[in-house]
Symmetry: C2
Subunit: 112 residues, 2 copies
DNA sequence: TTGTTATATAACGCAAACGTTATATAACAT
DNA sequence: ATGTTATATAACGTTTGCGTTATATAACAA
C-alpha cells in the first residue's frame, strides 16, 4: 500500500491538515487557501501538490483559477488500514473484559 | 493538536505500519519485531520510540525484555480528526445525491 | 565473576521535506 | 499590446528522518 505512505505523510503536516479542514467547508482556490497562513503562495502550491499526490484533494481548472476540494478515495484507504488496528484493539478490550469478568465472578464466589 | 503531527508522521512509515500490524496480533519484544525486517536492531528501537512518542504503542519492562503492545487510546485522536473529513465528504455526497435526484426528477417530468 | 542476551544511545551520512526568493505561464482586463 | 492576477516551477538553504556502526547498560546464565 504505497499510497498510504503519501496519505499519512500528507496528514502529518499541520498546515496541510488546516487546508483540509478549510476544504471540509467547501471548494477553495489556492489564494483563498493561502490567505490564513503566514507562508508564501509557492509553499501553499506545494502543499496542495502533496495533498493531490496523496489522493486527498482534487482540482479543476476554471480560467486562471484551480479550485480544490476534498477527494473521497484517500480517506477510504486510510480508514481501511485503521480498521485493522481498531479491530485488534477491540479484541484486546474484549480480552480485558473477560479478565475483569473473571475477577468479578471470583469476587462474587468469595462474597457468597 | 500537536500530537496528531506525531501520530500521522508515525503512521507514514511503512516499517512502522508493519510493526503496528504485527502488534495487532499481540504483544511482541523488540527482537521479535525486528526479525522480519532487513534493518538493524537500533533502527527498530528508534521506530518503536517514535511509535511510543506518538502514543500508538506502550511498553512494559520484563527482565531484560521490553514487550510492546498497541496503546488502547492510539487511534481515537486520529479518528476524531478524520471524522471531520468524513462528515464533510458525506455532506458532499448528500449534495451530489440531491443534484442527481433533481436531474432524475426533471427527466421524469420530461418523460411524462 | 564472566560471558551472553536484550535493548538503548551516540555519532555520523545521506536523502527528503519545507521554507524562501525569483521567475515562468497563461488567462483576464484595459 | 500591456499590465495584472492566479498559479506553478526552479534553485537554494536548513531541518528532519532514517539508516548505519560502535558502544553502553542491565538482566540472566554459567
Amino acid at each position: 500500500m504505497a499510497n498510504l505512505d503519501a496519505a499519512f505523510a500528507a496528514m502529518a503536516d499541520p498546515t496541510r491538515r488546516a487546508i483540509l479542514a478549510r476544504l471540509a467547508l467547501g471548494e477553495a482556490t489556492v489564494m483563498q487557501l493561502a490567505a490564513p497562513f503566514d507562508i508564501t503562495q509557492p509553499a501553499v502550491s506545494r502543499h496542495l501538490k502533496v495533498l493531490e499526490g496523496a489522493g486527498l484533494i482534487v482540482r479543476r481548472i476554471e480560467g486562471t483559477k484551480r479550485p480544490c476540494r476534498l477527494a473521497p478515495t484517500a480517506i477510504t484507504e486510510i480508514d481501511q488500514w485503521l480498521d485493522m488496528l481498531r479491530s485488534a484493539l477491540a479484541k484486546n478490550y474484549d480480552r480485558l473484559d473477560a479478565v475483569l469478568d473473571g475477577i468479578k465472578a471470583s469476587d462474587e464466589r468469595k462474597q457468597s
